[in-house]
């Protein structure tokens, strides 16, 4: 009967109820988006960092990977030193550079990574094979779209460019062996991968690397390994995934704070809307509520009925808000994904069921809270006096 009465009361003013549900839906959508945003970037980045199993990154001391043009010298010696640690099972040195590729009347500039294809963690092979030999190159889809080349083609690749003479130096022919998808590649960025020694030679950075990616044994202590590396190789900074995430958190703390503020405001607005609706609805029905009390209906059941009304609005709004929130999250993510240099794989808004449940939980609590006070107040009015006042009114 409680449910039936609640439902009947909501249907009595259908447009009012629907409008309230719509209002809650918008608040719920915003709340969901903010919950997604507060954890999305971090989780997305963590997933990306863990995607190939490399738990540590080594960069020039005091820098973050590829944050500056600085490089690490003595790659060979460093690799030998790292191999002394039994916990380290894979070492992938990477050197970043820029190449110029003349095709027809145009010259295309592309980022390039020099890697060891056997242990690399920077790209996934889409088609073809890894660039194993010194005269082989793999390219991404943006490169293919821009240049019109295909796997099997031979292209001229240069690293040096003299702007005064407008000539390229260190030019060599490279065969395209495969198409790859760079895990850390930004949108619309031309990128290629070659053998590490090839890039070192062409860029005249012999025995240098921009960073190392390190894989440790599953049962090893990552932090211990990190500390060991920094002691053994003093000219570098070693970053665990936790450290990297901290850096990301610090740099993008603004978004987490914004998410918290907007999420709180959304929850408050949703709560306010339901409270106002319930309060007005209860005030209109004081006579009915008092009569029910006179008939012997307990305060608890009256509060229950009204809380159920609040919950129906809140939960209906939350369900609609979930759908709306996913749509708006996609739209907002699309805006933020155009951050220059941001890896395509990173999402600011990552849907996690936990986020949805958290939003639902918060909204449910607010729906309950919205109904409790006005209904308790109305159910506690003195029956005889209230009936007389209602009769006069």
């Amino acid at each position: 009967m409680v449910l039936h009465l609640a439902w009947a009361s909501l249907r009595r003013h259908t447009s009012r109820t629907l409008l309230a549900i719509l209002g809650v839906a918008v608040a719920a959508a915003m709340l969901l988006d903010m919950v997604m945003m507060s954890t999305g970037l971090r989780e997305s980045f963590r997933e990306l960092l863990m995607s190939r199993g490399f738990q540590l990154r080594i960069a020039p001391k005091g820098t973050l990977p590829f944050d500056t043009d600085a490089t690490i010298a003595d790659v060979g010696r460093i690799v030998a030193t790292l191999r002394l640690n039994d916990d380290i099972i894979a070492i992938s040195p990477v050197l970043g550079s820029t190449i110029h590729v003349p095709i027809g009347p145009r010259t295309f500039t592309s980022a390039t990574l020099g890697v060891n294809p056997a242990v690399q963690g920077d790209y996934d092979l889409v088609s073809g094979r890894d660039p194993a030999a010194v005269n082989e190159i793999a390219v991404n889809d943006d490169f293919v779209s821009a240049t019109g080349v295909k796997v099997g083609d031979t292209i001229q690749v240069s690293t040096g460019y003299d702007p005064q003479l407008r000539t390229y130096s260190d030019s060599r022919a490279m065969v395209i062996t495969g198409r790859v998808r760079f895990l850390y590649g930004a949108a619309n960025q031309l990128a290629t991968a070659m053998n590490l020694s090839t890039v070192q030679e062409m860029a005249r950075r012999s025995d240098k690397a921009s960073l190392f990616m390190i894989k440790v044994r599953d049962d090893a202590d990552v932090e211990e390994a990190r500390a060991w590396i920094e002691r053994a190789v003093p000219q570098v900074s070693a970053l665990s995934i936790a450290t990297a995430l901290e850096q990301v958190d610090q740099r993008l703390s603004y978004f987490r704070q914004l998410a918290f503020i907007l999420g709180t405001v959304s929850l408050f607005v949703g709560f306010l809307l339901v409270t106002t609706l319930i309060t007005v609805s209860v005030n209109e029905r004081v006579g009915e509520i008092t009569v029910m009390r006179a008939l012997g209906v307990s305060k608890g059941h009256i509060v229950q009925q009204i809380v159920v009304e609040g919950m129906v609005i809140t939960l209906s709004g939350a369900a609609a808000g979930l759908a709306l929130g996913l749509v708006t999250a996609r739209y907002l993510n699309g805006i933020l994904a155009s951050f220059p240099g941001l890896p395509v794989a990173i999402d600011f808004f990552l849907f996690q069921p936990k986020a949805a449940w958290m939003s639902l939980g918060l909204l449910s609590l607010s729906g309950i809270a919205a109904g409790v006070y006005p209904s308790w107040r109305a159910a506690s009015l003195p029956i005889a006096t209230t009936l007389r006042e209602e009769a006069i009114a």
Binding site: H13, S15, R16, L19, A20, L22, G23, V26, A27, A29, M30, P60, K61, G62, T63, T68, A70, I72, A73, D162, P163, Q164, L165, R166, P234, Q235, V236, Q250, R251, L252, S253, Y254, L258, L262, S266, V269, L272, L273, T276, L277, V280, N283, E284, T328, Y331, L332, I335, L336, S338, F339, P340, A393
Partner: protein, 269 residues
């Protein structure tokens, strides 16, 4: 510590007085004062670089690109930096000052025609090109703003409907007395407009205070003189106008709904 090499400078100093200027953040974090001696090197972890004297501490500029980056900035004499970095007689770019807009256009044209392999750009165009990050943030803020406005509009309409309906008996009594629907609607809309005006004034006040807090907080957090939030006359005008329009529309819709119902029905008969 690896010292971030910034663009070089103008005056030539004799080699025996190699001095550098550091930014205030570096000075504060590392406890460096004017007159202190430092070692600068282009190699990370290198302790055998050049010894220099700190001759000045400079304020950081309000550069959006520096937000959230824990970088330090150092200014060195050009030849010194070229030597330390092993750059030789090279620079990344020239900054050119001209006398007025027409001189700028002429200089741009002449340099691009004469320079071999160089391209001259207006500083303003470079600023636009390098501010993509903040264009993205700006678009994001606008999107959030639009969503907030939509949510507020729905909320306002809902509340207005509720509040006007609460007074349906009063409206019914007025109508039965002979007061026209038009008068009732005008009254409700006027009330809604007044509420919207007062609410806007309060909202502008709250927004201004929030803006002050945001700037204070983020300037401290990111250690920058940059302004993160600005309340301008045009923003205030837009906000007030929008809330006025929303308030009036909400009041109009709510009152029209009420006057269309026969008065006796409003009494519940």
């Amino acid at each position: 510590m690896l010292v971030q090499i910034a663009a070089a400078l103008l005056l030539f100093q004799p080699p025996q007085q190699r001095t550098i200027a550091i930014d205030e953040r570096l000075a504060a974090d590392a406890g460096i004062a004017i007159g202190d001696k430092l070692i600068v090197s282009a190699k990370p972890g290198d302790t055998g670089g050049d010894t220099v004297i700190v001759s000045a501490i400079v304020k950081r500029g309000a550069d959006p690109a520096e937000i959230a980056r824990s970088e330090y900035k150092v200014r060195m004499h050009l030849d010194h930096l070229q030597t330390v970095a092993g750059y030789g007689d090279r620079v990344d770019r020239f900054a050119v000052a001209t006398r007025g807009d027409s001189a700028t256009s002429i200089a741009l044209r002449d340099i691009n025609a004469a320079a071999f392999g160089f391209e001259a750009h207006l500083s303003r165009d470079i600023a636009v090109g390098t501010s993509r990050t903040f264009q993205v943030v700006s678009r994001f803020h606008k999107a959030i703003g639009v969503i907030t406005i939509v949510a507020s509009a729905i909320f306002l309409l809902c509340i207005m409907l509720l509040k006007v309906e609460e007074r349906r008996r009063d409206v019914a009594a007025l109508r039965l007395m002979g007061i026209s629907a038009r008068t009732v609607v005008k009254g409700v809309v006027t009330e809604a407009a007044l509420l919207a005006l007062v609410g806007s004034a309060l909202g502008v006040g709250v927004g201004w205070l929030a803006s002050q807090f945001i700037n204070w907080y983020y300037q401290g957090l990111y250690r920058t003189p940059l302004y993160f939030s600005l309340v301008t006359p045009s923003i205030v005008t837009f906000a007030v106008a929008l809330s006025l329009v929303l308030g009036i529309v909400a009041g109009l819709l709510a009152s029209l709904r009420l006057v269309r119902t026969p008065p006796l029905a409003l009494f519940g008969r």
